[in-house]
Symmetry: C2
Subunit: 439 residues, 2 copies
C-alpha cells in the first residue's frame, strides 16, 4: 500500500491563544479554546536560503510531469508544505504566471515608480485562489476528506470544484434558489460540483454549510482554512525569483478576506529566517470605499496613534458593505483581519481606501496596455497611484501589484462602464466609417 504523508512536524497553532492541533486532525479550523484562527507551523529542518534557491532555479529550467517542475506553487515545495510527498500532490499546473512590467499607459497613470504586475488570473480557474487551492486540496486528500463545501458563487467555488474533482473528493456548492446567474454557476457545474439550491437566503446557505462543517461532515473550502495561506506564499517566492532573489520595495494587494496579505507577510518571514539578508517588501493593502473595514480603520489609527498595531486594533470594526464592481472583495467582516493587521504593520506598510471611480479607471488604463484585469486588481493599482501621490511610495521604487483574477470573469462590469464609448455610424457607407476613423 502507498505510504501516506503524515505531517508529523506540521502543526496548526491558534494565533490568539497558542493552542496547537495536528494538521490532519482538524476539520473545523476554529480554535476550540478561544475560537481564534490557525496558522500553519512547520517544525521541519529546512536548508539555507541559498541552497534552496539554486534548487528552485533548476526546477524552473526543466520540463516534465512532476508537480515541482510544472507548478509554480510546488516549485517551492520545501517552503510551502515541506512534508508533502510529491506523488500525493493535487495540482492543475497552476502558478507559472507571467510577471510583466507595466506598459506606458499604466506607468504614466500611476506615477514615477518601476511597476510590475504578477498576473494571477492566468491560472486554471482564473484567479489567485488556485495558489492556495492546490495546497488545501492536497492536504485534504491526505487527511482522507470525502467532501468539501462552500456557499460561494465566486472564485472560491470555482477553485474548490476544480481541485476537488482532480482530487477525487466530492464538492458541494450551496446557493439560494433563483438568485444566481448561469454564468456564475458555469465553473462549479463544469467541474462536477453538486450544486444545491435552497428555498431561502444566502444566510441560510451559509448556516447550512457551517452546521455541516461543525458536525465534521463537510470540509470547509473557505478562508478559515490556513493551508490555503501556505500556497499563496508562492506569490512572494515567484516575485523574488523573478527579481534575481531580491524583493521589490513594495507589494500591493487588494484586500478582501485578507488571505493573500497574510501569506505575503508569512512568506517574507520564512525567507528571512532561512538567511535571505536583503530588504523585504512593504505591503500596501487597498480596499474599495464600499468594503473598507481595514483600510478605513488603518487611516484613522495612523492619524491618531501612528503606526501602532494596538492603536489600529482599538479602531477596527466590521462594516455593512455597499455596492462595488470589486465584488470579490466585497467583505465587511474579513476572516483574516487580525493577520492583515499583523502583516501590514510588521512590514511597515500601509493601506488605502480607493474610490469606485479610481478603481474602474485603473482597470481601463491597464486594458490600454493590453491586460484585462479584474476590478480587485484595479483597487490595488489605484492604491499604488494614491500612495505615490501621497509620498508613501518614493520615486523610482520597485512595486509589484498582485493581479488577483482574470478580467474574463468580469466582462459585464467592464463592458458596462465602457458601452458609452461605442460609436454608432449613421449609415453603412465605407466613407462614413473612414471618416470616423480619420483614415
Amino acid at each position: 500500500m502507498e505510504e501516506i504523508v503524515n505531517f508529523k512536524s506540521t502543526l496548526l497553532r491558534c494565533i490568539n491563544c497558542g493552542h496547537t492541533t495536528g494538521l490532519l486532525e482538524e476539520r473545523t479550523f476554529a480554535c476550540p479554546v478561544c475560537g481564534g484562527l490557525y496558522d500553519v507551523e512547520h517544525n521541519h529542518v529546512m536548508q539555507p536560503f541559498n541552497v534552496m534557491t539554486k534548487k528552485f532555479d533548476w526546477r524552473m529550467s526543466q520540463t516534465g510531469d512532476s508537480p515541482v517542475i510544472k507548478s509554480g506553487v510546488w516549485r517551492f515545495l520545501e517552503w510551502v508544505m515541506p512534508e508533502m510527498y510529491q506523488d500525493q500532490i493535487v495540482s492543475l499546473s497552476e502558478g507559472n504566471v507571467p510577471i510583466v512590467r507595466a506598459g506606458r499607459h499604466l506607468s504614466d497613470w500611476v506615477g514615477p515608480v518601476d511597476l510590475h504586475l504578477i498576473l494571477e488570473g492566468m491560472t486554471p480557474t482564473g484567479s489567485f485562489k488556485d495558489f492556495g487551492g492546490t495546497v488545501m486540496m492536497s492536504v485534504a486528500k491526505a487527511a482522507g476528506v470525502k467532501a468539501i463545501g462552500c456557499a460561494s458563487t465566486g472564485d472560491t467555488s470555482a477553485m474548490a470544484a476544480a481541485y476537488a474533482t482532480a482530487a477525487g473528493i466530492d464538492c458541494a456548492v450551496i446557493l439560494p434558489e433563483g438568485k444566481v446567474t448561469p454564468a456564475q454557476l458555469a465553473q462549479p457545474l463544469v467541474h462536477g460540483a453538486k450544486v444545491i439550491t435552497l428555498p431561502g437566503t444566502f444566510d441560510d446557505c451559509m448556516r447550512v454549510v457551517k452546521e455541516l462543517v461543525n458536525a465534521g461532515k463537510l470540509f470547509p473550502a473557505n478562508s478559515l482554512n490556513p493551508t490555503r495561506i501556505e500556497g499563496h506564499q508562492a506569490t512572494v517566492f515567484l516575485l523574488a525569483q523573478y527579481f534575481g532573489w531580491n524583493l521589490p520595495d513594495w507589494i500591493s494587494l487588494p484586500v478582501g478576506n485578507g488571505s493573500n496579505c497574510s501569506s505575503v507577510g508569512k512568506a517574507m518571514r520564512l525567507m528571512t529566517q532561512l538567511g535571505f539578508n536583503k530588504p523585504t517588501s512593504h505591503i500596501l493593502g487597498s480596499q474599495s470605499e464600499a468594503a473598507c473595514p481595514l483600510s478605513k480603520s488603518w487611516s484613522r489609527a495612523w492619524e491618531k496613534y501612528g503606526a501602532t498595531l494596538a492603536g489600529w486594533k482599538t479602531l477596527y470594526e466590521p462594516m455593512e458593505v455597499g455596492e462595488t464592481n470589486a465584488t470579490a472583495a466585497r467583505i465587511g467582516n474579513p476572516v483574516s483581519y487580525q493577520k492583515v493587521m499583523r502583516e501590514i504593520t510588521m512590514s511597515n506598510g500601509c493601506m488605502n481606501t480607493v474610490s469606485e471611480k479610481l478603481l474602474n479607471e485603473a482597470v481601463a488604463i491597464c486594458g490600454k496596455d493590453g491586460y484585462f484585469v479584474c476590478p480587485q486588481t484595479g483597487t490595488a493599482l489605484a492604491g499604488v497611484k494614491m500612495a505615490v501621490e501621497a509620498g508613501w511610495i518614493k520615486k523610482d521604487a520597485s512595486v509589484a501589484v498582485v493581479s488577483t483574477a482574470n478580467g474574463l470573469k468580469f466582462t459585464e462590469s467592464a463592458a458596462g462602464n465602457l458601452m458609452k464609448e461605442i460609436i454608432p455610424a449613421k449609415n453603412c457607407q465605407t466613407e462614413t466609417v473612414a471618416k470616423i476613423l480619420n483614415l
Copy 2:
C-alpha cells in the same frame, strides 16, 4: 534614430502561383496575380537544430524583461521571425502556457493513449490567437501601420485590440448595431479599440472592412495575414521542448479558418530542414457537424481516392453553417482551406467530424479533471476519441491536444448544458442537504 528592422531576407510567397512580395510592403494579403494566399518565407541563414534547442532551453531557464525570456512565442525568435529585432517586439508575455497530462476522467473517456493538453487559453486575451497576434502586431508596427481592423466579436477582435494598443496602433472593430452583447464587447472596449456599430448586417460590416483594407487604409487583423501563422508555430516548438525535443505521435486541433493547422505543418517542416531527425507528428483536424467543410470532404475523399490531396481537392466545397456551441470555428468557407489540406495530407494525418453531443461531452469530461476548456477544444478531444476507436490512433500513442481558448469565454454555453444537474432542496434544513450529499 532607432534602427528599424527591414526584413530584407523575409518574403511573402503566393501558395498558388509563386508570386513574391516584401513583408513590409504588403497591406491586403491577397496575391495581386491570382488572388491566392501568402506564406511567409525566410531566406535567412539558420543555425542547426541542436545549437538552437540549447539556446531555447537556456532562455526558458531565465527570468527577466526581454521578450525572448518572458514570451513562449519569442523564446523561439530565430524560428518564428528570424530577422525581428528584440527591442521592436510587441509582446504581452504570451505563450508560457501549461502542457498537462490528461487526468483520469478524460483518459478513461478518450481511450488507451498517452494524452496531453497544451492550454492555450491561458494567454493574455484568453485564446491561442495571442501566439499569432504578437508576431502580426510586431510586423505591423515595423511596417508603420497606423490602424488595423476587423469585423469580429470573438477571439480575433480581443487579440487585435489588446496587441494594437500595446503597439500604439489604432484598432477598429466594426459590428452590426444591436446584434452584440456587452460581454462580447468587453475585451475590445477594455483594450481601447474604436468599436463602431453600423445600422446593417454582419455582411455590411465585412464589406466595409474589406473596402478599407483594399484601399490600403486599414491593416487586416484576420487569418489572411500569414504573419499570424508564424507565431502559431510556437505550439509545436513548445510541445517539442516539453517532450525533450521529441514530437508526440499526433497533434490534435479544432479547425475553423485553419491557421493553427497550417502553422503546425510549417513548424514541423522547419524543424526537419534544420536537422530534427526524429518522427514528426500526424495532424488530426476536427470540425463540428455544424461547420465541417474540410472534415466532411476529407472523409468522402478518403473512401473514394485514399489519402490523395488531388482527390480531396476535387470534393471540397464551402458549406452553409448550422448552430453549434463551437462558435469560434463556425466557419463554412475557411480562409486557409488549401493550407489545411496540404498539412493534413503531408503529415499523413486525418480529419474527424464531431457531433454536437460528443463535443459537449468532451468539455464536461475535461471539466471533471479540473480544466475548463472551450467547445472548440471539445471538438479536438472528441476527434481523438473517435480516431482511437477507429484505430487511426494506435494504442499507447502519444497525443497532444491543442486547447485553443479559455472556458471562461464560454460560460453561458457550458452552464446551459449543465443547469439540469442543479439539485433543488425542498427546504433549508441542514438534514435535508446532508441527505442529498450522502453525508
